[in-house]
């Protein structure tokens, strides 16, 4: 069975997808913060990345650092086929939940 993704995991995977070749830890953190419109703990992002890598949904590799980070290496992440499938499944699940709900049902309630 495909992995079921939590909202935060989806946000991180989508950030990796969106950032493409520039998807390293801090860039992912920034993207997730902006998309969710709230502060996110660096530890939460890194723990999620570690978990996603253990599930083989993403793959990472180290590359050279920059002076702003004291020369420390950047870890770049790339979506794996299993990660893409998990995201597709998550999208299908949400779409299925919304199917048959007309927009007018929500209008006037919020």
């Amino acid at each position: 069975m495909a992995d079921t993704l939590g909202t935060f995991e989806q946000a991180v995977l989508l950030a990796i997808l969106r950032l493409g070749d520039d998807a390293y830890g801090r860039a992912i953190m920034t993207d997730v913060r902006e998309r969710l419109d709230r502060e996110v703990a660096a530890g939460a992002v890194h723990a999620t990345l570690e978990r996603l890598e253990q599930k083989r949904l993403v793959h990472s590799k180290l590359e050279a650092g920059t002076p702003i980070r004291g020369g420390r290496a950047r870890r770049y992440y790339r979506l794996q086929p299993a990660g893409a499938r998990a995201l597709e499944n998550a999208r299908h699940a949400v779409n299925a939940l919304w199917r048959g709900i007309p927009r007018r049902l929500l209008e006037g309630m919020s």
């Binding site: 939460a44 650092g65 420390r72």
Partner: protein, 203 residues
């Protein structure tokens, strides 16, 4: 961004601790991400003192994530013992003390062993055990205070006195961190060794 921000550094002790809490092979990338965020976004917008506090909060977050499960289990065990002693005092505390002691040793050792395995660092394991004990102590003392505020009738107070008194409730959880860290240290050595295989040179 000014050069001052470019060269600014977060508290050295927090950076040092952070490096022992995260996986050895992720140390550089994670501390680099935090340093980049600190210099590029946090420091220019919040100032030095607030940026330092932000960095410490992030580091504490890593510590918390690495230890909270063990700490909550430990605190739950300690509180269960505390509640049993207060509301169902036994004739002899020997058996309960024996069980509690071995549970505590097992939890400190587990935190140290698995902390060292996860971080691939001996110091990381020792730190995990020590912090686990401290978090558990804070949870235990807080919950014990609440229990005491709710139930402090003469019978309960008498049971507390016979079980070691309030010192046992409020001081022992912190004192136990010291011997607990010794067990965590021994277990951390095994945890680190278990990740090494034959590469003993990298300990």
């Amino acid at each position: 961004m000014s050069n001052a921000h470019h060269d600014a550094t977060p508290p050295a002790w927090a950076e040092g601790l952070l490096r022992f809490v995260v996986r050895r092979d992720h140390r550089d990338s994670i501390s680099g991400d935090l340093l980049e965020e600190y210099r590029e976004r946090i420091l220019p917008s919040r100032g030095a003192a607030s940026a330092d506090r932000w960095y410490v909060r992030q580091m504490v977050g890593y510590l918390w994530r690495a230890t909270w499960v063990w700490a909550v289990v430990f605190a739950a065990a300690a509180l269960l013992r505390d509640a049993l002693d207060r509301f169902d005092p036994p004739q002899s505390y020997y058996l309960r003390s024996l069980v509690t002691t071995w549970v505590a040793i097992a939890l400190f050792a587990s935190a140290g062993f698995f902390g060292a395995r996860r971080t691939r660092s001996f110091v990381g394991g020792v730190l995990a055990g020590c912090v686990m004990g401290l978090i558990a102590a804070v949870i235990t003392v807080t919950a014990s205070t609440v229990m005491l505020a709710i139930a402090h009738d003469p019978a309960t107070m008498d049971a507390i006195a016979r079980g070691g008194g309030l010192d046992e409730t409020f001081i022992l959880p912190f004192v136990i961190v010291v011997p607990g860290t010794v067990f965590a240290t021994i277990a951390a050595a095994f945890g680190r060794l278990s990740t090494l295989g034959w590469r003993l040179d990298s300990i």
